[in-house]
Amino acid sequence: MKTESYVRTEMLGEKSPPATTVGLIGWVRENLFNGWFNSILSVLSALALFFVLEDILPWIWRGTWTGTSLQNCREVIQATYGEGVTAACWSVIGDRYHQLLFGFYPSELYWRPILAFVGLLVALSPVLFTSMPRKFLWFSAVYPFLCFWLLWGGSVWLPLSALAGFVLGYLAFGSVGKAAGNLAAVIAAILVPVLWWLFLAGNVASGLESFIPLELQHVESAKFGGFMLSVTIGVTGIALSLPIGILLALGRQSDLLILKSMCVGFIEFIRGVPLITLLFVASTLLNIFLPPGTQFDIILRVIIMVTLFASAYMAEVIRGGLAALPKGQYEAADSLGLDYWQAQRLIIMPQALKISIPSIVSTFIGLFKDTTLVSIIALLDPIGMSNTIRSDTDWNGIVWELYGFTAMIFFIFCFSMSRYSMYLERKLQTGHR
C-alpha cells in the first residue's frame, strides 16, 4: 500500500529574493525610503545637495588653467562659456603651486625637502607598520638629524655632533650603570650629553668641518614656507609631544609631590593659554626679553612653543587612558614583582595608549591644522603664502582657488592620519570592548 505523501519530497530550487529587496533598489528602499519621514528627509537632502553642487561643480570643472592673470582668466572663461559665467581661475595654482608647497625655498634645491619628505615616509614606516623590517628603525633614529641637515643645509658635522651626544649618553648609561647603579646611570646619561653639547660639540664640529668640509648650501629659515613649513612644524611637534606627553602624564600621577606639582602646573598653565598667545610670546615677547641683536631662529621658537602646547594636551589624553585602566592591572603588575618602569612599559602603557589612540590622533590632527595659526605671526605657511600671492597684481582678488587648494592638501594629510588610526585600532582590538 502506497501512502500518498502530503509533504513535498523534493527540494524546490532557491528563488532569488524579491527585486525590491536586493541590489540598488533594495539598498535604496532599505536606507533612503523606509517610511514616509525618512523618505521626505532623503528627498530634501538630495535637493540640498543638488543646489549646492549645481553651482560648485561647474565652477570647478569650467575653471581655466591657461589664464595669465585674474583678468585674463575671466576673459578666457567668458570667451569659452559666454557672458556672465564665473568659474575658477586655476592658473594661479599652476603659476604658484611651488610657493604654496615650498615657500621661498630656492627652486634649484627643491630636491632637498622632497628627499626629506620621502625620508620621512621611510622613517615612519617601521614605526607605523609592524610588518616593515625592524632594521629600518635605525634609519628612523638617525632621520631627525638627516632631515635637519637636508632642510637647513650647512655643515653635516653640526647635526652629527648633536647625534654624537645621544650616543655618548647611551654609552655613559651603559658603563656607569654597571659600575654605580641605576640612578647614577640616569644622571650620567643626562649630564654627559649636555656637557658635550654645551662645551665640546661646537668646537668638534667646526674642527671636523675644517678637516673634512662636507656641507650643503645653507638655507635660512626665512625662506621656509608653504606646506613644507606646516609639515616641519607639525611633524616635529607630533613626534616630540608624544614622549613628552607620556612623561607629563606619568608625572601627574606620580606620588612625588614636587614632580607632581610641577607637571600639574605646566599642564594646567599651557592648557589655560591659547596657542596663539604662545605664538605671540615666541614671535614678539621673546624678542624683548632676549638681548638685542640675538638671532634666535623664529621657526625653532615656534616649534618649541607648538611642542609644549601639544605635549600638555597629549598628557591629558594619556592620563585619560591611564585612568580608564582597571586598578587590577596595576596590582597585577605589582604582584608580578615588576618595578615601576617595567610595569609601565610592559603592562600599563600598551593598554593605556591603545585606549587613547583615537584621542591621540585627533590631537595630532588638531596640532597639524593649528600650524596655520603661524600665518598670524607673519610666517608664510599656506595661508600666509596665499596672502602674499594675492598681493601680486596678476592674482589680486583670487580667494577660493587658493584656499581650495590648501584645504585639499590639508584634507589629504588629515584624512590619512585618521584612516591610519582606524587601522591601528582594528589591529590592536583584543576584544575588551
Partner: protein
C-alpha cells in the same frame, strides 16, 4: 627628554650669532646685507613674484637703501612682518629698517621710540560704494552699513567722521581685508572703507570695476613712510637721505635713463652734489661719493618707482595726487642737498 636637550643645544648654537655693538650702518656693512621689514603682501607696495623676488613701492625704498650702501639693490634680505609684530621686530633689532605701509603718528614716533625718516606715500581713508546706490558724497551715507577691518586706525577715523557730520551708520566689523572685500562684493554692506590706495587696488580686481565708485571724501591723513629705531641718528640719516635722493632726483629730472650721462657732471650744482661729482655729501653720510647714483640706478627716481608699481598704467592705477612734487601742487618736498 633627550630630544628636548638637542633642541637646547641647537638653541645655544643659534644664540652664538653675536651681539650688535657698533652703529647700525657698520653692522649692516659688516653683515653684507640690509635686513628690511616689509608687509607679507600688499598689492603694489610689497609683493613676491613667482620666483620669490620681492618688489613693490615700499620694497623699492629698501632696495634703494641697500644700493646706496653696497651699490647692489639685491644686497637686502626681506622679513615679511604682520601689522602686529612689525614694531617689535624693528625695536628688537630683527630688522634694520621698516618699510611697511606704516602711518606716521605721534604715538608711534614718540611712545614706541621710532624715527620716521620721511613720507613715501601720502594716503588717506576713503569710501567705496556700488554705483547703483546713487551716492555721490560720503555725507549721503546716513544709515548705511559700512564694512570695516577691525583693530585699525580706519575704524576710529570712521567713527570720528560720522560723529563730526552728525550722521548715523552701522559698522560691519571684519577681521581681514580680503574677507571685508568679499563681504562688500556679496552685498553684506553698502560701503567699504579703507585707505584710498587699498580701495583702488581692490576695485581693480572686481569683475565689473565700473559698477563701483570711490567717493571724493578723504576722511583721514595717512602719511606712510619708512622708519628706524631711536638712538642711531647716523643710520636714520642714511635712510632719510636715500629717500630724499629719490624725490630730489625726480625734481631735477634725474632718471635711470639719463643717470649715467648726468653723472659725468652738469651745469646744475644741485644735481652735481646729489650725484657726488661735486662736494662730499656721501662722505658725510659714511657712504661712497656716488651713493645716490647707485640708489637711483636700482629702481629709478621716485616717479619711476611710482609709475612702475602703483601708477596709472598699472592695474592699481593710482594718480599722483598728493604724492606729486611740490612744484606740481603735491606734498613731495625734499630738503636741499647742500
Amino acid at each position: 627628554m633627550k630630544r628636548f636637550a638637542f633642541i637646547g643645544a641647537l638653541t645655544a648654537a643659534t644664540f652664538a650669532a653675536g651681539f650688535a655693538s657698533a652703529g647700525t650702518l657698520d653692522d649692516v656693512k659688516a653683515k653684507g646685507f640690509l635686513q628690511c621689514g616689509v608687509a607679507t603682501g600688499v598689492v603694489g607696495f610689497a609683493t613676491a613674484d613667482a620666483n620669490g623676488r620681492w618688489d613693490g613701492f615700499d620694497v623699492s625704498v629698501c632696495r634703494a637703501v641697500a644700493a646706496a650702501i653696497f651699490g647692489d639693490g639685491d644686497a637686502v634680505k626681506f622679513t615679511p612682518l604682520s601689522s602686529k609684530n612689525r614694531f617689535t621686530a624693528l625695536s628688537s633689532g630683527e630688522v634694520d629698517m621698516l618699510a611697511r605701509n606704516t602711518t606716521w603718528t605721534f604715538s608711534r614716533d614718540v611712545e614706541l621710540k621710532f624715527n620716521f625718516v620721511g613720507v613715501n606715500y601720502y594716503d588717506g581713508q576713503g569710501f567705496m560704494v556700488p554705483k547703483a546706490l546713487g551716492v555721490t558724497s560720503a555725507k549721503d551715507l546716513d544709515g548705511a552699513t559700512v564694512c570695516i577691518q577691525t583693530g585699525t586706525t580706519t575704524e576710529l577715523n570712521l567713527a570720528d567722521f560720522f560723529r563730526k557730520n552728525g550722521i548715523s551708520y552701522e559698522p560691519v566689523p571684519i577681521e581681514t581685508n580680503n574677507e571685508a572685500i568679499q563681504q562688500y562684493i556679496a552685498g553684506a554692506c553698502d560701503a567699504y572703507t579703507t585707505d584710498a590706495s587699498g580701495l583702488a587696488s581692490a576695485r581693480a580686481t572686481f569683475e565689473n570695476p565700473k559698477d563701483h565708485i570711490i567717493l571724493p571724501e578723504i576722511v583721514s591723513k595717512e602719511p606712510l613712510g619708512p622708519l628706524v629705531r631711536h638712538g642711531d641718528d647716523q643710520w636714520m640719516d642714511v635712510v632719510r637721505w636715500t629717500l630724499n635722493a629719490l624725490i630730489e632726483a625726480e625734481e631735477y629730472g634725474v632718471t635711470s635713463a639719463n643717470l649715467a650721462e648726468l653723472a659725468k657732471g652738469t651745469d646744475n650744482p644741485e644735481i652735481n652734489r646729489l650725484l657726488g661729482t661735486e662736494g662730499n655729501l656721501g662722505e658725510m653720510l659714511g657712504l661712497s661719493a656716488d651713493w645716490a647714483q647707485k640708489a637711483i640706478a636700482v629702481g629709478g627716481n621716485y616717479a619711476e618707482i611710482f609709475e612702475r608699481n602703483i601708477g596709472e598704467n598699472t592695474p592699481i592705477g593710482l594718480s599722483r595726487g598728493l604724492n606729486a612734487q611740490w612744484t606740481d601742487g603735491g606734498l613731495l618736498y625734499s630738503p636741499p642737498f647742500r
